[in-house]
Amino acid sequence: MPGTSHHITAALVGSPNCGKSSLFNSLTGSRQKVANYPGVTVERRSGKYTTADNQTITLLDLPGIYSLKDRTLDERVSRQIITGDHVSENQPDLLICVADSTNLRVHLRLVLELKHLGLPIILALNMHDMAQRDNIKIDPEILSKELGIPVVTTVAVRRGSLDDLKNQLSETLHNLPPKQGALAAPTTRELQQQARGITARAMLSEGTQHNITRQLDKIILHPVFGLIIFFITLFGMFQLVYFWAEAPMNLIEGSFAALQGLISDILPDNWFRSLLNDGIIAGVGSVLIFLPQIMILFTFILILESTGYMARAAFIMDRLMAMVGLNGRAFIPLMSSFACAIPGIMATRTIEHHRDRITTIMIAPLMTCSARIPVYALLIGAVVPNNSIIFGLFGLQGVVLFGLYLVGIVSALIVAAILKMTLTKGVAQPFLMELPKYQLPVLKHFLINLWERAKSFLRRAGTIIFYAAIGLWLLAQYPKKPIGGLEPDIFYSYAGILGRALQYIFAPLGFNWEISIALIPGMAAREVAIGALGTVYALQGNEGQVEQGLRTVIQNTWSLPTAFAFLAWYVFAPQCLATIATVRRETNSWGWATFMTGYLFALAYFAALVVNRATIAFLN
């Protein structure tokens, strides 16, 4: 009945690591939509699927669950939707329950629990290829009889292997049984006993124990080699993020500069040209330039995730994270934050517990992101001598840069420990997690996921950063310099007025009014502060010349305590509106965004003050 089935929704349900999302990607392909459920940051993945006989249904990929007892935000959304308790989502008409064939006993328990809901169910025995490889033989017919529901085998990552599921879907959709009333489910233990019995009857061969995963884990989880592999992976990743991103970043920068040149040629020199060039293109461009780094970083993260290595990284880092009251899972988002805090904060969605997730979000901006590097490089180049130390092995400048990274990491751990003792205090969360089998990533699924990340980054650049850029441009441009004014234009603007007012607050840190002014446009993105300093000191020329000029200005007019205090400020200060906006969106609370901004500013002020005073004392 084509046409009448449009409103039918089928939900994919299963435990984490059952290959549910791969199955979803294979069925819907590019016809999928990722959004958030209202009020929470749980991703709502939905897509359209059309059967061979032209029935179109909506497929919903629900977050993985082990049972209908919800503990995390993700699990609660799944439970509410499946049981029909969700405020905005209707109960699905059909459940496609996905189970890992190599781990039938555990996954069947969930199927048995779901059966009590009274919804029609199709069971997909996924990862059928792996089961065959490990000599596990399951009889789908016996299983189907025992459970009283249709059972098909699938290999989510192989084309053509979904035919059984597709045929079964058409058939079920033609005579979709009505929903029945839900029955109370027995206890976990009773369900487990049933599942074990059924598994024993349907399993023709239990399979051999040895497999590739076991062998690989012997090296990857080795107490010493595992750690070495882990650090090489991390180090290589960061090197490549910078190395590979350089060319596309130059390309983006060049394109924006060319665009600005073109606009300068076409439009007369008026406010509109300035708004386009200095406001929108400069502002949005300064954020878009990080797209290559973010894409490369996500490439690595998606590969590490889909191969199963990420769970091992969590295992390796768990001990260190335990020292500050978090668990290994919190390490992954923090790693992303070294490129940019925004994808890092987005990645905290994988953290099970709300309190742990908040703690991780709060400390993510302390990881030294790539936008700080231009600022660090300028200041270090200006005030730290280019000497070799430790037998000429290391440059002093490099050691100072590394030190700034280290200060960020150590502060993050301390802040996390303090938060866990106060605001996000609570019971420790069990680490308990399954280490999934190693798998080769699937190019198509990888590309779909990468595109999703890029889209959400671009969407943000097109909205919040666009408006912020216009706002900051207005502040820096108006009011105009009065006739006969001697200072640079920005001195007389709102940003200048604000900066000059702020200099009284910043005076104890040794910041002059020029620095105070530069901090305001620097809110758009950290490295914009360099351009702003160039403007304040009325330097002319291209970017390289401005930087060279600035280095001279800093060497001649900034005292050492001021320069060091400025570095200290930049380690902590939340100089990035996009991050603050992301925190607000991901925590769904202005409270946490405000708290983070406040504590980081306070920390930055305090650190800069201490560094300033300590340097003065040291020099005397």
Partner: protein, 88 residues
């Protein structure tokens, strides 16, 4: 005979799960949920469990094999899993 727990085992040792004693966890809220979580992830009475891997510091966390699965957990959590007191 003293009662033995999964947390007492060393790398490479194997035992059979006898039951769960989450009371042994110091925190009550933590303990209340732990037994269910252990059951849901695949721990069950009568199954063999073997320690495959240990962390570097304090031999924590551990990775254990149950059936076809590898499960990572901390020794603190493993202290809730009662095992048989054989040589292995």
């Amino acid at each position: 005979m003293t009662v033995k727990y999964l947390s007492d085992l060393k790398k490479g040792e194997e035992a059979t799960i006898l039951g769960f004693d989450p009371k042994f966890c110091q925190d009550i809220e933590f303990a209340r949920d732990l037994e269910d979580r252990l059951l849901e992830i695949g721990f069950e009475e009568g199954l063999k469990v073997k320690i495959l891997h240990e962390g570097l510091v304090s031999r924590d966390p551990i990775a254990v094999r149950i059936g076809q699965m590898t499960i990572a957990l901390r020794r603190m959590e493993a202290a809730a899993v009662r095992i048989n007191n054989g040589k292995y």
